[in-house]
């Protein structure tokens, strides 16, 4: 910098202007180069997303040609005879996610209310940290724990109780085993809970203070205030958080593959083994022998990708809308 000022002072005005132009020329070149490089790196992201979608579509053409739309409604998954249908895995994915959300949603809503509303600041910070740790544990570790601790515990303590009291329902019939749909659902619940809880906490924190104060000023108790002001205000954000959790549950692979038992049959009982879209890919992809087999597995991946993208876009729109909308109205 010093050099530049000295040089400018020594030179006649015209020459000074000339060197300014020179400097600007150089600057513009540098700026353009910088903008170009960062643009290219940014475009890498776009091309990955396109490439990913294209690769899956091309990879599954063989299966799409052979089975068409029948693929998603056929229950026949028979690699030996080259017959493939996705329904058992779609069913497994749907049911395990439903179990996960049924358990995780009430707990994470409660935890989020506690974190954002009822717990004192110092405590809520520490609990928030623990919830984040819950999300940080690798899924293979959850899977390991699921096989050796959670599964046997469910078999010995939960499934007998469910069988005894609700055994008249087809859902809870059959022999009690440690791997199966129920174990996968419960494990998924544990894994998606921190995501739903932390997004809901953010949504509740974004509810304007004035809303709460108005409810309290009307004489509401703290719970009535949450019921009247916080929950309705955060409704779309809560739905977004749940959809985000659903997206996680659908895509979770290794922990589910370890505890779900890997059967390609549809069984009514939750105690029976099953498979999800993600878990069957994890189990069979490396061993897929025929072209059609591999292509069918890729089509399962495509189904998973489309579901994941749709849910994610919907969730983001709802959550951002809830948080920004609240911020826009002032706190």
């Amino acid at each position: 910098m010093a050099n530049f000022y000295e040089a400018a002072a020594d030179k006649p005005a015209a020459e000074g202007r000339e060197s300014w132009r020179g400097r600007f020329g150089v600057q513009l070149f540098g700026d353009r180069l910088f903008a170009l490089i960062t643009l290219i790196l940014g475009l890498v992201i776009l091309s990955i997303l396109f490439g990913l979608t294209l690769a899956l579509v091309f990879g599954s053409t063989a299966s799409i040609h052979k089975f068409g739309l029948g693929f998603v409604v056929s229950t026949d998954w028979d690699p030996v005879n080259d017959q493939f249908g996705a329904l058992p895995f779609i069913y497994g994915t749907a049911i395990s996610s439903v179990i996960a959300l049924t358990i995780a949603v009430p707990l994470s809503l409660g935890a989020a209310l506690c974190l954002s509303e009822t717990a004192p600041e110092w405590l809520s910070r520490r609990i928030g940290f623990l919830v984040e740790l819950l999300a940080a544990i690798p899924s293979v570790v959850y899977g390991l724990w699921g096989i050796f601790v959670l599964g046997p515990w469910l078999r010995d303590h939960v499934e007998p109780v469910l069988g005894a009291y609700l055994g008249f329902l087809p859902l809870f019939k059959g022999p009690k085993v440690s791997v199966g749909m129920l174990a996968a659902g419960v494990l998924l619940a544990i894994m998606v809970l921190p995501y739903i809880a932390s997004v809901c906490t953010d949504v509740f924190r974004a509810v304007p203070r004035t809303q709460r104060e108005a409810a309290l000023a009307l004489g509401a108790t703290r719970w009535e205030m949450l019921q009247m002001a916080v929950l309705p205000y955060g409704r779309s954000g809560i739905i977004g958080a749940i959809i985000l959790g659903l997206g996680r549950a659908l895509g979770e692979t290794i922990a589910v593959a370890m505890v779900i038992g890997n059967s390609s049959e549809i069984a009514a009982s939750l105690f029976k083994p099953s498979s999800t879209l993600a878990s069957v890919i994890a189990n069979e992809f490396a061993e897929a022998t025929s072209r059609l087999y591999l292509s069918s597995l890729m089509e399962l991946g495509l189904v998973l990708l489309v579901l994941g993208l749709l849910l994610n876009v919907a969730a983001r729109v709802l959550v951002l809308g809830a948080i920004r909308g609240a911020a826009g109205e002032g706190r």
Binding site: G30, D31, L33, A35, I37, T38, L39, L41, G42, I45, L46, L49, L52, L56, P106, S108, L109, G110, A111, C114, T118, A119, L130, V131, E132, L133, A136, I137, P138, S139, V140, V141, Y142, G143, L144, W145, I147, F148, V149, A197, L218, T221, R222, W223, E224, M228, L244, G251, T253, I254, I281, A282, F285, M298, G301, L304, L309, L311, N312, R316
Partner: protein, 287 residues
């Protein structure tokens, strides 16, 4: 008026409020139980099977006692290192672009793409790496594994970079420009340097995340029971090794799976807790 809405007597309303608020506390407690159970089992079962051999030896064949996961530990470091070499420059560069051109249509498209890539299941990324790297190279390789991990890492780094750069005050940028610094120098040596702690935090959280990934490695890096550091050969990783040993029927392998899971969790949680402690909880990983 509130009585008209909620009806019951004041006593019952207060009681209900207290009960419901206790229930939220109870929900929080229940939510945290698995954390302590998982960590507790990891410590008791993992520490019991952890010894020096675990860090210095490769897995022994079935039937022989002993052996370790030295190759898998080295493999995880190699995979994550190579993933960073691809993912960090792309992620930060893209984040810079998005932050510097907030209103630009291209930048908006890139931000949107990064956002929805966060929601792509990691197993699908594995299929992509299989189609792009494994198939053309006719075999599983460390390169394919790190490619998959890099793809998972990129959107995480891009989003944190953008968020961190947005926090840098506009005056700082204006001051640098007013002093005659070109825009690229301003971006790199003033804005990005100010945001560097935040960006580094984002990178470390992304590393913690990909170090724990198993699904995208299953049919890219594949796994290896022997020593290998070659980028064109299949390579072992802690996560895949823990998975393989956990679902095996051999007690000695299952025991080692606990040890491997303990080491893996220690690496991941050290990164997470370390970063949070250094930044005093300001850092968050995008979802």
């Amino acid at each position: 008026m509130i009585r008209a809405l909620f009806g019951a007597s004041d006593f019952r309303r207060k009681l209900k409020s207290d009960i419901m608020i206790s229930l939220t506390a109870l929900a929080t407690l229940i939510a945290l139980v698995p954390l302590f159970l998982v960590l507790g089992y990891l410590l008791t079962k993992g520490v019991a099977s952890l010894n020096l051999n675990f860090f210095t030896q490769i897995p022994k064949p079935v039937g022989e006692q002993g052996g370790g996961m030295a190759n898998a530990i080295v493999g995880t470091f190699e995979l994550v290192g190579m993933a960073c070499a691809i993912g960090v420059p792309v992620g930060i560069g893209a984040g810079l672009y998005v932050a510097e051109h907030p209103a630009h249509a291209t930048a908006r498209a890139i931000r949107f793409a990064a956002d929805i890539m966060l929601g792509v299941p990691s197993i699908v990324v594995g299929i992509f790496a299989y189609a792009i790297v494994v198939r053309p190279m006719h075999g599983f390789s460390a390169l394919a594994g790190s490619f998959a991990l890099a793809i998972i890492m990129i959107p995480l780094v891009t989003r944190t970079t953008e968020e961190m750069i947005k926090l840098v005050p506009g005056e700082l940028r204006e001051a640098a420009l007013a002093l005659g610094a070109p825009r690229w120098r301003t971006s790199l040596s003033v804005v990005m340097r100010t945001a560097m702690t935040g960006i580094a935090t984002g990178v470390i959280l992304a590393i913690a995340r990909i170090a724990g990934e198993t699904a995208p490695l299953l049919f890219t890096a594949f796994g290896n029971q022997y020593w290998s550091t070659s980028v064109t050969q299949p390579i072992a990783s802690l996560t895949v090794q823990v998975y393989t040993f956990a679902i095996s029927p051999f007690a000695d392998w299952q025991r080692q799976a606990w040890a491997g899971a303990l080491v893996l969790t220690c690496i991941v949680l050290t990164l997470e807790i370390g970063v949070r402690w250094v930044t005093r909880g300001a850092a968050r990983v995008p979802r």
